[in-house]
Amino acid sequence: MKDRIKDLSGFLLKIWRHPKGRVGAVLIALLIFTAILAPLIAPYDPYDVTARSEKGLAPSLSHLLGTTITTGQDIFSMLIYGTRVSLLVGVVSGLSIAFLGAILGVISGFLGKWADMLIMRLVDVMLVIPTLPLTIVLTNLFGKSYGLIIFIFTLFGWTGLARVVRSQVLIIKKSTYVKAAQLAGASDFHIMFRHILPGVSHLLIMNTALTSAGIMVAEAGLSFLGLGDPTAISWGKMLAEAQSGGALLFGHWWWILAPGIGIFVSVFAFMRLGLALEEIFNPRMRRTSSIRKLWKSMNGAYLQDVFHSMDEEPVPVLQKERVAVRE
């Protein structure tokens, strides 16, 4: 247990030390903070559509990002509340994809045979189903809700991860350290929980961060199309309202910019974290650009010194008689 805590804190420290990781972590913490404390931070009730006198205000100290033209809602407060939907859908879908992908990938790789056949064929089938039309059909059938959207994302999102997990499981299964454990009498259960699951965990963590980012964009898209929960405030829906409410017509750029920034910042945060995790787990991913940067920081004179330190004086010639070949 003590080891686990040490491992975990070491891992968190690594993220913190990584420049991309730190940016991602700080931004995500801010987003979570905003989402939870939205009622405290937001200056107005974003659902309040009764303030008829304050329609279409430009940004000012009392309304930081102005108000909507159609209903007079406070845009800044809407932006803050939008964080909730975006984070919720992104993170919950990311986690459930990781869960489903891990289970199916591990089963496929570890059991092999018919289970593998079945799951891999299922992956092939999932890849050719057109997602958007199906989503429209399903929302019409079951009503619009974010639960349904999370379900759909999960249903279609696990395939790629399952494949990656499967191939990693196959590598671990064939490794000689698993053979050594089997020789010592290890059960399948032991191999599964001591070797295979820890061996794919880094894929899962990394994948969760990256897919969450992708799903946030997709969620904004669906909400924009009006497929999200009509009662909730989300950035995608804000964009749609801005468009239909004439933000472009009246030049109210802040109405469009606000949700845009929200989407950008949250996707950016999760992408940063995902990329940082990728580089932490796989040091070879470090691009040459980062090495160039490193060189610049090392300064040329130092590298020249390194070269010079290897130099030697010219080879002195020994006196001949001192040289004797050993018999």
Partner: protein
């Protein structure tokens, strides 16, 4: 005195990494004469492969930084050439044989096609002529039934045959210099003997100079004229083959020779070199070999020995070379 084909002076390669600088090659001089076989011997991380990559200018910057006083091949200064000119030299004048023939061959092209490609690109031959030449060169390296094998893909061949195809490709344009990086390490013993024989015959027939990079002194003893022993990025001994085998001057060479178990050996303990090759980012003070050397003195721990002339064309980097032990 025979003609020099390759002359390297003071070649240094470093890899600046995040915490410290890896000194892969620390200023080595190396010359290869026409038709000569020069062996570079050393263990993992000694810089032997990096040296060969530096000669071919295949090291990318970053991650590597290279500095050299001279890198002269056949009268031309290689460092002054453009990438394009260098590409012409690679393949036509210098060719490479790798340890792993499977990764060196294109898996989706037949071996015949790949050989043709070499002739077409460098000798501007027509497709038909190229095919004749390819089949002929396959026959020359002892590929059985070359007309049929011509249409095979690399994965259809055994390891030994693949290595033969690679040799055929390497010799296709009659290069002046051949660099063979562990050419037989991945092969079985009986096949290894075949391939080494072939390499030797081809080298003599084409009068090619050969740089043989290996960790295996028994391969060296079969092929080489001159041997360079490298340790932790430096040359520790240079010598013609026979004197080296008879009387090594550097304790490391002695240890290497002792750890090749000969068939005439007795049923006893093996003579061992303690410890392991130093981490290239963290080399010891003084002589790099001192922590593993059984003759180590105080001087060895603090002062770096220089490469010193030892007569008969031999060089050694040691404060107390072995032949002179009794006198000191």
């Amino acid at each position: 005195m025979s003609e020099k084909i390759l002359d390297i002076k003071n070649l240094k390669v470093i890899f600046p990494a995040s915490s410290n600088v890896i000194r892969a090659v620390e200023g080595i001089d190396l010359t290869v004469d026409k038709g000569q076989c020069v062996a570079i011997v050393g263990e993992s991380g000694c810089g032997k492969s990096v040296t060969s990559m530096a000669i071919m200018r295949l090291l990318e910057t970053p991650p590597a930084l290279i500095q050299t006083d001279a890198l002269t091949f056949d009268g031309k200064e290689l460092t002054a050439l453009s990438q394009k000119e260098m590409q012409n030299i690679r393949g036509r004048d210098i060719s490479l044989i790798f340890q792993d023939a499977l990764t060196a061959l294109n898996p989706v092209m037949t071996i015949g096609h790949q050989l043709d490609e070499v002739y077409i690109r460098h000798e501007k031959l027509k497709k038909k002529q190229a095919k004749c030449k390819s089949v002929e060169s396959l026959r020359l390296v002892g590929v059985p039934d070359p007309e049929r094998r011509y249409h095979d893909y690399p994965h259809q061949l055994s390891g030994g045959l693949r290595q033969r195809v690679l040799i055929a490709m390497a010799f296709a344009l009659n290069p002046k210099l051949m660099i063979a990086d562990e050419p037989t390490t991945a092969l079985d013993v009986t096949i290894q003997a075949q391939v080494l024989d072939l390499l030797k015959i081809m080298q003599k027939a084409h009068k090619t100079s050969l740089i043989l990079i290996t960790h295996d002194l028994s391969v060296v003893s079969y092929m080489a004229d001159v041997v360079y022993i490298m340790y932790a990025g430096k040359i520790v001994e240079k010598s013609p083959l026979k004197p080296l085998l008879r009387a090594p001057l550097h304790p490391y060479t002695e240890g290497l020779l002792a750890s090749v178990p000969g068939l005439s050996g007795t049923n006893g303990r093996f003579i061992q070199i303690p410890d392991a090759v130093p981490d290239p980012a963290n080399k010891p003070e003084g002589c790099y070999f001192h922590p593993r050397c059984r003759y180590c003195t105080e001087q060895c721990k603090t002062q770096k020995p220089r490469l010193t002339e030892a007569g008969h064309g031999r060089l050694v980097r040691c404060w107390y070379p072995l032949g002179r032990k009794e006198e000191v």
